[in-house]
């Protein structure tokens, strides 16, 4: 898709009016890019067939800046929802896609985002089957907001539930923590710093599918620690299951540059957002094999077992520090704020 020869440079209120300008935008950009039998019917919705139980997940994306190192809001909107469906133990098939655009957004930026959505959808094997575009006045939005809803078929061997978690289960993460949050942070106003940190946004549905094929119900839980980071998700899980979680600081995969940026900015990497990261809680007897399988995948090469479930300290996450001490890991409250000194 090329921004030239469209006849307009920016998105304006008329593109959300429902009239011919809307149709023009859809025909020239949306339908052309996502071209598939469902969308091509140009109906208000789509009719699809599923062969099993389905998993549904929805998410809205309001990230600023909309373009960042390692990705943009478009691929984030696909990967985020695809991963959420995968976390249910399902194989994502279809996505809905809704834009809220602030008038004045440059059309070439919009096209760049739409192309990223297409490419991310293709990579994760999902089709965009319905959507919506609204335009709001300047100042009533922040360039572009995207909502996606994902639909997936539950894997026949999956039995993902916090009810299955028991003491002794191992906690495994598929990669480096805090990459996404620090990539975004490095580009925010007033905080810009030189780094090559890139967002880890990616789809993990195929890796999840491989894990379920191989280990089935030995996998007790998947969860992706996006906002609030690893700490908040683990705290939530420990409270949900009324058991304790022990993690080991020296086992948590953390890239040097990210660790340094966190130190400088006074942020705790455990609370920084992730995108392509997921936690697997698995039966201890398959833990080593799970780690081995994951490390063979490009999306799991930094996989590490970071801790386990315990009957001690119920509802709490306790981290063993590098120097042999222990501390509570509490959930994030509000936004993590940079320190004074």
């Amino acid at each position: 898709m090329d921004a030239k020869n469209l006849g307009f440079d920016t998105i304006n209120l008329g593109h959300g009016s429902g009239g011919t300008m809307t149709r023009d935008l859809l025909d020239k950009i949306i339908f052309k890019t996502f071209d598939n039998p469902y969308l091509n019917q140009k109906h208000d919705g789509s009719i699809v067939k599923f062969n099993s139980k389905i998993a549904i997940s929805t998410d809205s994306f309001v990230i600023s800046p909309i373009f960042f190192k390692g990705g943009n809001i478009g691929e984030l909107a696909v990967n985020g929802t695809v991963n959420d469906v995968a976390m249910c133990g399902a194989i994502p098939k279809y996505l809905s896609l809704a834009f809220i655009v602030e008038e004045g957004l440059k059309i070439d930026e919009f096209i760049k985002i739409v192309n990223s959505i297409k490419s991310a959808a293709d990579k994760s094997g999902v089709q965009i089957i319905t959507g919506d575009t609204k335009v709001v006045e300047r100042g009533k939005g922040d360039k572009i907001f995207i909502n996606t809803t994902g639909f997936g078929e539950v894997h026949p061997k999956a039995n993902i539930s916090t009810n299955n978690i028991k003491a002794g289960d191992k906690i495994i993460v598929n990669g480096l923590v805090a990459q996404h949050g620090m990539a975004i942070m490095s580009q925010r106003e007033g905080l810009e710093f030189e780094s090559t940190i890139e967002s880890d946004t990616t789809n993990v549905n195929f890796l999840v599918n491989d894990l379920l094929d191989e280990f089935g119900n030995e996998i007790h839980l998947f969860r992706d620690p996006t906002r609030g980071g690893l700490a908040s998700v683990l705290s939530e899980i420990s409270q949900d299951i009324n058991k304790g979680i022990t993690i080991y600081e020296d086992k948590i995969p953390l890239e040097k540059q990210v660790a340094a940026a966190c130190e400088i900015l006074g942020l705790d990497p455990l609370y920084v957002a992730n995108e392509g990261l997921f936690i697997s809680i698995v039966d201890a007897k398959v833990a080593d094999d799970v780690v081995e399988l994951m490390r063979k995948d490009t999306k799991g090469k930094n996989t590490a077992c970071i801790g386990e479930i315990t009957n001690e300290h119920p509802n709490k996450v306790v981290m063993h520090s590098i120097i042999g001490g222990k501390r509570i890991v509490s959930p994030l409250i509000g936004e993590q704020l940079p320190r004074i000194c």
């Binding site: 007033g190 120097i323 501390r327 509490s330 509000g334």
Partner: protein, 364 residues
């Protein structure tokens, strides 16, 4: 990162813990001055690794915690008057008498979170039709950058920039703590980063006058246990002097260039400390020739005065008389989500450190 991994070394930390255990014969109360040290102790689980006789008391060195309530109200007042207020991050959630800066932002105030006050001058330059105020809080550590922003604005002719000053100094606070009738501190871990700027010459008279060991200490686990060992060692031998554990960063005379910048625009004056009250000669105020950059004068807000929250024992916490979990409100009516006082909000506050990282809440 080399300096970090070296000072988070398990074996080295263990060896100092062993030394402390082998040296200590009597119970000693050691106050770490700086909130960063408090967090280092709690976050790394050091408090539980120390022998029972080495009791750590948490000091007042959290700039957010000691900023008086009325200063926050003043910043909020400015936000409500179409002024762009710039602040360090952890200041914004601290409750004022009615609301926090974050709540004032939600109501439409233009609040910017910055790491450097120089960026606030840039914002002023880019918004010539608006007034821009930097909320200049902190100890001696943040004073040079804040002072530099004023010099920078002056040099560039930026007239719509000013600072709301709430700068406090560590040595007068230590003296106020030692003079308190309930004081039971046996030794201090001096605030490493403050001394990186100021040096530590001014601590010798304090050690001498109050017969108390002062160890200038860093923030990593190994720094902290080494500092504690040095304090215990002095106490057991009955000596009291200033020692510098943090020599890789702190020089005796401090950072001369930074001190010069401070002295150019600030002079020493009385300051109110949240929860403690006014301490003579305990802070910085702008010199007369820089009055044009004083937000309090520029906007006529110096008369805003509000009483402290009577349910909050922040004063006793900051002076080390009580520990956070000894407060009847701790974890009940006072939580990081709904704080009564600043020590529960700031990432360096002792109450927040206990709430987030330690077991005290779980067992209580």
């Amino acid at each position: 990162m080399k300096y970090l991994s070296e000072y988070r070394n398990l074996e080295a930390t263990k060896s100092y813990l062993k030394l402390i255990e082998n040296t200590i014969t009597k119970p000693w109360k050691i106050m770490e001055i700086c909130g960063g040290q408090t967090h280092g102790l709690v976050k790394n689980g050091i408090l539980d690794l120390l022998p029972e006789k080495a009791q750590m008391i948490h000091g007042p060195g959290c700039p957010v915690c000691v900023t008086p309530l009325n200063l926050i109200d003043k910043a909020i007042e400015l936000l409500g008057n179409d002024v762009i207020v710039c602040s360090f991050g952890d200041m914004i959630r601290v409750p004022g008498s009615k609301k926090s800066l974050l709540e004032a932002k939600a109501e439409g105030g233009d609040l910017r979170i910055l790491y450097s006050p120089i960026d606030a001058v840039k914002i002023a330059k880019n918004n010539p039709d608006k007034e821009v105020v930097f909320f200049a809080v902190g100890f001696e550590t943040t004073a040079p950058a804040n002072a530099l922003s004023v010099l920078h604005a002056q040099k560039e002719g930026v007239k719509n920039y000013s600072i709301l000053v709430s700068h406090v100094l560590v040595p007068p606070a230590m003296e106020a703590i030692l003079d308190d009738e309930f004081c039971n501190i046996d030794a201090f871990l001096g605030a490493g980063h403050v001394c990186a700027i100021m040096g530590f010459k001014e601590y010798h008279p304090l050690a001498e006058k109050y017969k108390i060991p002062i160890i200038i200490t860093g923030f990593e686990p190994l720094d902290l246990v080494q500092g504690i060992y040095m304090a215990v060692n002095q106490l057991e031998k009955g000596i009291f002097k200033v020692e510098n554990q943090y020599a890789r960063v702190v020089k005796k005379e401090g950072n001369l260039a930074a001190k010069k910048v401070i002295q150019t625009i600030f002079e020493i004056g009385n300051r109110e400390w949240r929860g403690i009250g006014e301490i003579p000669n305990s802070g910085y105020k702008l010199k007369k020739e820089f009055e044009a950059f004083d937000a309090e004068l520029k906007f006529g807000i110096s008369n805003i005065k509000v009483p402290e929250n009577i349910d909050c024992i922040a004063g006793e916490i900051l002076k080390g008389i009580k520990k956070p979990h000894q407060c009847s409100q701790f974890g009940k009516t006072c939580t990081p989500q709904n704080p009564l006082g600043a020590p529960m909000v700031s990432s360096e506050g002792a109450c927040a450190a206990y709430y987030h990282f330690s077991d005290n809440l779980i067992t209580s």
